[in-house]
């Protein structure tokens, strides 16, 4: 075996080890969810002797699972689309028209990124109450959109800045206006950035439970993470209750990622090699 092949083998082995370490908590969560409470007590770190699905039956019976998954998917999808659309539209002029005003706007956007969530939580609640948007899907979608827009604007501004201006100049020769240039020239080139941003936004919206807990009060509007949250004790953790709920909570997202894996990876890596 030559030296480069040994090095390559060692690098691959190291990568496999790193992946295994990263997957260990996930594996532990799934393994725990398939064991009875007695088995977990007997051997806290043991593997399941048999696959016990009773924990899942219990969790499903207490979670209003389908309804909350549908809510989560709807809210996440709407927020992701809105953030990508509004963020890219706002970023286009900011990236192209560089003057004091746009620099100030970019700084304000950066401030939005740096603001701790507990500072914004009360103003958001009061504004939404005054607008009559509490306990509504529209309210939670707008809240998440507002919270994620600074990231999107910042993200797209730097990405659009790297797109050659010649493309736009050519479009202007063909009598395209600003909107047409954005829609037909810039937007299609934002695929990789949108894919990466969508990943961030989806994970953030799906996993957050503070804002749904704050803005939604009707149980039929709750997201899946609020359903999972009910299984978490204040002073103790019941692995046979919490872990199946956690698996069920993350399962839809995992399925979506598996289904769209190719597109996501293609989107993220597109443009990486020129």
């Amino acid at each position: 075996m030559t030296l480069p092949r040994i090095a390559s083998f060692a690098a691959q082995a190291a990568m496999v080890c790193i992946v295994l370490v990263m997957l260990t908590p996930v594996f532990y969560m799934i393994a725990m969810s398939l064991r009875t409470a007695a088995e977990i007590v007997e051997q806290p770190l043991g593997l399941p002797d048999r696959l016990y699905f009773g924990n899942y039956v219990n969790a499903l019976s207490q979670m209003a699972y389908l309804r909350s998954v549908v809510n989560s998917i709807g809210i996440t999808l709407a927020v992701t689309v809105l953030v990508a659309f509004l963020g890219s539209m706002a970023a286009y002029p900011l990236a192209r028209r560089t003057n004091r005003f746009t620099r100030l706007v970019i700084m304000l956007v950066a401030l939005g990124l740096a603001t701790p969530p507990f500072v914004t939580i009360t103003p958001i609640y009061v504004i939404f109450r005054n607008l009559g948007l509490l306990d509504s899907y529209l309210g939670i979608i707008l809240a998440f959109t507002a919270l994620n827009l600074p990231l999107a604007v910042f993200f797209y501004t730097s990405f659009i800045g790297a797109i050659p201006k010649e493309l736009e100049e050519a479009a202007r020769l063909d009598n395209c206006n600003d909107w047409q240039i954005y829609w037909y020239i810039i937007r299609p080139l934002l695929g990789p950035a949108t894919a990466t941003l969508s990943l961030f936004v989806t994970l953030m919206v799906w996993n957050d439970f503070t804002y749904p807990l704050l803005l939604l009060t009707s149980p039929e509007k709750f997201t899946v993470m609020i359903s999972v949250y009910r299984f978490l004790g204040n002073l103790n953790v019941q692995p046979d209750q919490l872990f199946p709920a956690a698996v069920l909570g993350s399962l839809p997202l995992l399925v979506l990622f598996v289904i769209f894996q190719r597109r996501i990876v293609a989107g993220v890596t597109a443009g990486a090699v020129k």
Binding site: A37, A38, I40, V41, Y125, Y229, N234, V237, P239
Partner: protein, 409 residues
């Protein structure tokens, strides 16, 4: 025939009108609590069903919000004039929210106020007003696996320091790990209980009128931990990394350790473990009784902004009735906050009960606002640091506590 038809029609219309009126009068109470979920039901789902059955004009919508998230989620609702009608609270929350005028005065003229345990009255009364109706007092003591003790030749849960040292040596000799002593919770319970037992006034320490660094009681209490290490009660570095809310509990349930200072709220969970024969005893101390470290934990408060004050008051008073409260006390293995109130502790908590009878009760100082809340986290952190490096001086541990107290003033 026409008369019959008319009478029938009239009755139907009356029924519809009355039915509509009944529906129109129905009130929905928005209630939040950090109990009542799947992990910690505390009997709340049944009690709410009972309340609704007894009060058909009131529907209760219970939302679970963990204690930690209550600090984040409820202040915006309170400040936004859209608070829940009734909220589960504790004294640190009441201190802030009542001070800001966000809670309704429940009235010291209430029937239940007159029945409160005298030791609780000063803690919950503020300038002649009361903003919380206490639901329970819950013990924090020492869980003891009696089968493991028996294997080492011990037949009684230790309640004194000497008994604890002897038990640890015998358990260690028998190859049994004696004690879970997590820096995050168990060690603080032990140190606080033993420190306060030898200190005149917890409040003076919390107000910086006296210092922890110069307190003989707390210096002796930290020394007691060194003594436990010498007696092989615990491996300090191993304990520093153990999580008190998950792995520590599983380890005790698995029978891997013989003792564990923790809260009585675990009794229900531990009782469900087949083959786990355990007792709930006081925290061993230099007194014969040991220390029964009582926690006044939860209560109900009514929002000052509620649109349904009368219904909210009925809800709160429902829990003050002994028969109703008993269901919660049983589920929580807790004591009634009312004079002559029964306890919900099972027989296995008899040693703890006895310590209370023998005068071993000390109130957990954070729950009655004797000590500032930030100090609790500091004690956990500093004792974890101490377990990692037991060569540290007592002063190095305790001066951090004094600093936090001074910062909080």
């Amino acid at each position: 025939m026409r008369r019959i038809k008319r009478a029938f029609f009239g009755a139907a219309v009356s029924g519809m009108v009355l039915g509509h009126a009944a529906v129109a009068q129905s009130v929905t109470l928005d209630v939040t609590a950090w109990k009542g979920n799947e992990a910690e039901p505390a009997g709340l789902p049944d009690l709410i069903a009972d309340f609704e059955a007894a009060n058909p004009d009131i529907d209760v919508e219970l939302s679970y919000i963990s204690r930690l998230d209550t600090d984040v989620v409820l202040p915006p609702r309170l400040q936004g004039n859209n608070a829940p009608d009734v909220m589960m609270t504790d004294m640190p929350l009441v201190d802030i929210w009542a001070g800001a005028g966000l809670l309704a005065d429940l009235g010291t003229g209430s029937e239940w106020y007159g029945r409160l345990e005298p030791s609780l009255v000063p803690s919950v009364t503020s300038d002649g007003a009361i903003y919380i109706m206490p639901l329970e007092v819950i013990g924090m003591g020492n869980f003891v696996n009696m089968d493991l003790l028996a294997q080492a030749g011990i037949n009684k849960a230790p309640t004194t320091i000497n008994e604890l040292h002897a038990a640890c040596r015998m358990l260690d000799a028998a190859g049994i790990r004696p004690m879970i002593f997590t820096g995050g919770f168990s060690a603080p319970l032990f140190v606080i209980a033993n420190g306060l037992e030898q200190t005149d006034s917890a409040r003076a320490l919390g107000l910086a009128e006296k210092s922890f660094t110069e307190s003989d009681g707390f210096n002796a209490s930290v020394d007691l931990v060194r003594g436990l290490i010498d007696s092989k009660c615990l491996d300090p570095q191993e304990q520093a990394g153990l999580d008190p809310w998950s792995t520590a509990l599983t380890e005790f349930k698995a029978g891997n350790f013989a003792m564990m200072p923790q809260g009585a709220w675990n009794i229900g969970d531990f009782s469900g473990v087949e083959g786990l024969n355990f007792a709930f005893a006081p925290i061993p101390s230099n007194k014969a009784s040991g220390v029964a470290l009582d926690l006044f934990g939860i209560g109900w408060s009514i929002s000052a902004q509620t649109a349904h004050p009368e219904e909210a008051r009925r809800f709160v008073e429902f829990f003050a009735e002994a028969a109703n409260l008993q269901k919660m006390l049983d589920a929580e293995s807790a004591y009634s906050p009312f004079q002559g109130g029964a306890s919900g502790t099972p027989d296995l908590a008899a040693p703890y009960d006895q310590a209370r009878v023998d005068g071993g009760v000390i109130m957990y100082p954070f729950a009655v606002l004797d000590w500032p809340k930030p100090l609790e986290r500091e004690i956990w952190d500093s004792l974890t640091g101490f377990l990692l490096d037991t060569e540290k001086s007592n002063e190095a541990v305790l001066e951090r506590w004094d600093e936090v107290v001074e910062d909080a003033l």
